[in-house]
Structures are given as C-alpha cells and as structure tokens.
C-alpha cells in the first residue's frame, strides 16, 4: 500500500511541477529513454503463452527497475490477435508501445484477410522460440512418432483426433504438415487454450496434441502424457531429468523419427513503424538485460524454450523467412482467406 501512496504522490508532484512549468526534461544529448508509460500489447487473451511471457517481462522489468517508467500489459486478443496488431500499426511513430508476437503475426492476416503485415511494424528482438512436441496419452500403445502415424493411417481418415489451440493457427498448421507428409488424415479439434488442449488429451477425448512444452510438462511429469517427438531441427538442449527416465534432451526430433517437419513459434518483440532508431536500440538493450536475469532463465528452462536471441537485420531476415514458410504451409493446407 505504501508503494501506491508513494507512486501517487510522485504522480501528483509531477503533475504539479509540470503545471508550474518547471519540469526538467531529459537532455536530448543522452541516449533515448522512455519518458512515459510503456504499453506492452499482447495480441492474445490473458493466461496464454504470450501473455505469460509479457507479464513475466513486466514483472522482471519492475523488480529489477530496468526502465525509468512503468510498463503495462494490455491484452488485445480480438479477432485472433488482429485487434492488437492493428492497434500497433495505427500507432505509427510511437516509441512507447511494444507488442509481443506469436505465430498469429503471420497466420491471422493470411487466414482472415485482415489488413496488416509484419512490415507495418518495426522488429525489435527475438526473445525465444517456442518448441512444439507431439504428445499422446501415457498409456497409448504407440511408443514412437512412426508407430503413431502408422496407427493413424491404419485407422482411416478422420479417426484419429488431434487437439490444438485455435483454428488455422500454429497447431493446425503443424497437423496439416504432418498430414501432407505422411498421408495420414486427422480430425483436428480446435480449443481455446493450450491448457484445455492438454486436459482434453489427458482425459482421452482426443488421441494426440502438439502442445508447447510448458503446456504439457506437468502432465508428463505426473505420468499422464508421453512426448513422442519435437518439431525442431535438433533436440532440446536441457539434460536435466524431468521424469524418472527422461529429460527434454531424450525426446527425439521428429526428423529422427522420419517425420521431416520443423516448426518453431516466434516469441518476439515488435514496435510500431516509423520509430526512432535509438528507441529500438534502447529496447534491444533492455531485453538483453531481461534475458540475463535469473527469473527469465528459470522461466526459459521451465518451458524448455529455444533461447535463440536475435535483433537487427538478422531478426528481420528471420521474420521474412518465417512469413514465406507460413504462406507456403497455409497455401498447401488451404487455410488462406477466401477473396471476397
């Protein structure tokens, strides 16, 4: 409570000072720093992976006092995230706005035709990449991805049910990619959140899911789920045992299992278009500091994230490539918005 009082007193005194016209502004020769509250947009609902990460960052930034202003997390989840992206697109030149993205940066405009594109935004930094794992219930008879796909093929089209988050988004894209590669045909059942997907799988209402590690790990440890393979080029580096026998590193890649699919989800930061370059540099520096905190490291470990960090041109190129990949995957799967 005392903090609130302090804060409000501070705010009041700022107001008074400003009113008296004696507020000293930071000298422009210094590097850019935020001068007002930084809005951190989450183009997804409260509680999802992106939201958790944004709130984690907010917490870290405030705990370690990494910026001179406060940071607020705002959920703009309407229209599969379109709401958030359009807001940032409309805030051209505003250096006090950040947005954390998930795959809907690419999938939403493609699937719905809503007019925005990552080129409307300024890429800041890639924080991490989220892995995808093929999960089945622990007592399912198939032990490997190959056995699983074979069983799905044998059962016939639509007999095996794959649960995932949302429609025409990352989970369904991966499902479609698996179908295209193997010829198996799943019935894809969309749910609202990753937690619900995991629960439906544990309850055996569906046969498999492609949950992110963080969504499945607790059920894995409890012996309810079994990971079959990870959709990445190499295995997850974490060798600490999660269950009695296995670590994340013991999960084979899907490629090793003959399922040549790689898919990683961007957890990256963007800003509105037309912002000053020093502002971008400032935030790149900020996120570098965030990555060094013990809280962030623990968070990355818990979620078995791929902790690649990128900024500048490297990041921009990565995003451009990811967009092409999404476009081709979605075109093949027939997920593009119908031209009206």
């Amino acid at each position: 409570m005392i903090d609130f009082l302090k804060k409000s007193l501070a705010a009041l005194s700022v107001a008074v000072l400003a009113g008296a016209g004696i507020l000293v502004t930071a000298s422009p020769a210094d590097a850019w720093e935020p001068t007002r509250t930084v809005e951190f947009i989450v183009p997804a609902g409260a509680g999802g992976g992106a939201d958790q990460m944004a709130r984690m960052i907010q917490g870290i930034v405030q705990k370690h006092k990494l910026i001179p202003q406060s940071m607020v997390v705002i959920n703009k989840s309407g229209g599969a995230g379109a709401d958030g992206f359009l807001d940032v697109k409309a805030s051209k030149g505003n250096p006090h706005k950040l947005i954390i993205t998930l795959s809907n940066l690419f999938t939403t405009p493609l699937a719905t035709g809503v007019p925005f594109n990552w080129t409307d935004l300024t890429p800041v930094a890639m924080l991490a990449l989220d892995e995808f794992v093929l999960w089945v219930p622990a007592d399912a008879p198939y032990k490997t991805a190959k056995e699983y796909v074979d069983a799905a093929k044998k059962a016939g089209p639509g007999k095996f049910k794959m649960a995932g988050t949302g429609s025409k988004q990352e989970d369904q894209i991966i499902t479609a990619a698996v179908e295209q590669q193997t010829g198996a045909k799943f019935a894809y059942v969309p749910f609202k959140g990753g937690g619900t997907v995991a629960k439906q799988l544990v309850g055996k209402h569906v046969n498999s899911s492609v949950n992110n590690p963080i969504e499945g790990v607790s059920h894995w440890r409890a012996g309810n789920l079994r990971p079959l393979c990870v959709f990445d080029g190499q295995r997850i580096a974490l060798k600490q045992k999660i269950t009695k026998e296995m670590s994340w590193n013991d999960i084979p890649t899907c490629k090793e299992e003959g399922l040549d699919i790689e898919y990683l989800m961007l957890r990256g930061i963007f800003m509105p278009g037309g912002v000053p370059a020093d502002a971008v540099d400032y935030y790149v520096g900020l996120f570098k500091k965030v990555r060094e905190t013990p809280e962030w490291k623990q968070f990355m470990g818990n979620g078995a994230f791929n902790t690649t960090f990128m900024s500048g041109k490297e990041y921009r190129d990565w995003v451009a490539k990811a967009e092409t990949t999404h476009k081709s995957l979605m075109t093949k799967a027939g997920f593009l918005a119908a031209k009206k």
Binding site: K7, A11, A15, T35
Partner: protein
Amino acid sequence: MSESKGESEHGGVSVRTLEIVVAAALMGLAAVVMYDNWITGARWGADGPQAGYFPFYVALLMLISAGMVLLRALPLAAPRRRFVEPSKFRPVLALLIPSMVYVVFAAYLGVYVAAAIYLTYFMFVVGRYKAAVVAPVAIGVPIVLFLLFEVWFLVPLPKGPLEYWLGY
C-alpha cells in the same frame, strides 16, 4: 444496426408504433444476418455444421418471432397508449444527449477531461447545484479515477492532450 430503435424524439410515439418499428428492425437485422451466414456457409457439412449454420437458424427464429410480434402489434383495436409522455421523455434526453456528447468528447479529449465537462454540465443544468458543490465533484471524480486507473492499477484509458502534456 440498432440505432433506429431510439428514434422517438417526438414523444408522441405510441407503444404500437414503436412495437412495429422495433419488430421490423429486428426482422431487418435477422434478414441481414441470414444473408451473411448463407454466404459463409450454413449447411450441415461432413463434419458437422458449417460456420454459418447456427447463426443462420438463430436469425431465422428471430425473423419468425419478431414477425409474430409485428403481426400482433398491427391491429388497431388496442387503445392508443403513448410510449412515453413527452414531459417524462425530456429528462431521458437530458441524460442521453449529454452522454452522447461525452462519448464524442472522450474520443478527442480523453475520458478524464470529458468526464469533468460532462459532470459539470449535468450538475449545473440538470441538478442546478451551485458552483461550490459542482467543482469538487466534477474535478475530484476524474482525478480519483485517474489515480485509480492510470497510476495504481496501470490500466490505460483513452487520454487526450492534457494527459499527454502531463507526461502520460
């Protein structure tokens, strides 16, 4: 969509007229919804209903039931009752119109300044209070709200030039 329902500013509108207007508006709305969902796809596909299936039939039911309301309202037999007495409707407008103006102001000046103007107007004109009563409320309420939302709970609301100048 539903703005047309508020058009009773003459005050002399009878309940029957308004019943008909509302029912017709609902039917119109239903027709639009049905059309849009038919385009989206309103059949029972191979794996269950298509995206437009439920909204289409929902709108169909709405069309039918609003139609029934309309049919029942049509006969003139019922005694003509006014929807609202003009003398009573004036206070309704006295709130509604400033509220609309408030929303327009809020878009440009931000919620807090607009609220101050709105409260001042309302307490002066409708409540007929003295300035000594109006000022603390009209200025105090927005400030309390500002502290509550922007400062403590970090919930950003629409802001205008004043707040920007203050550094928010």
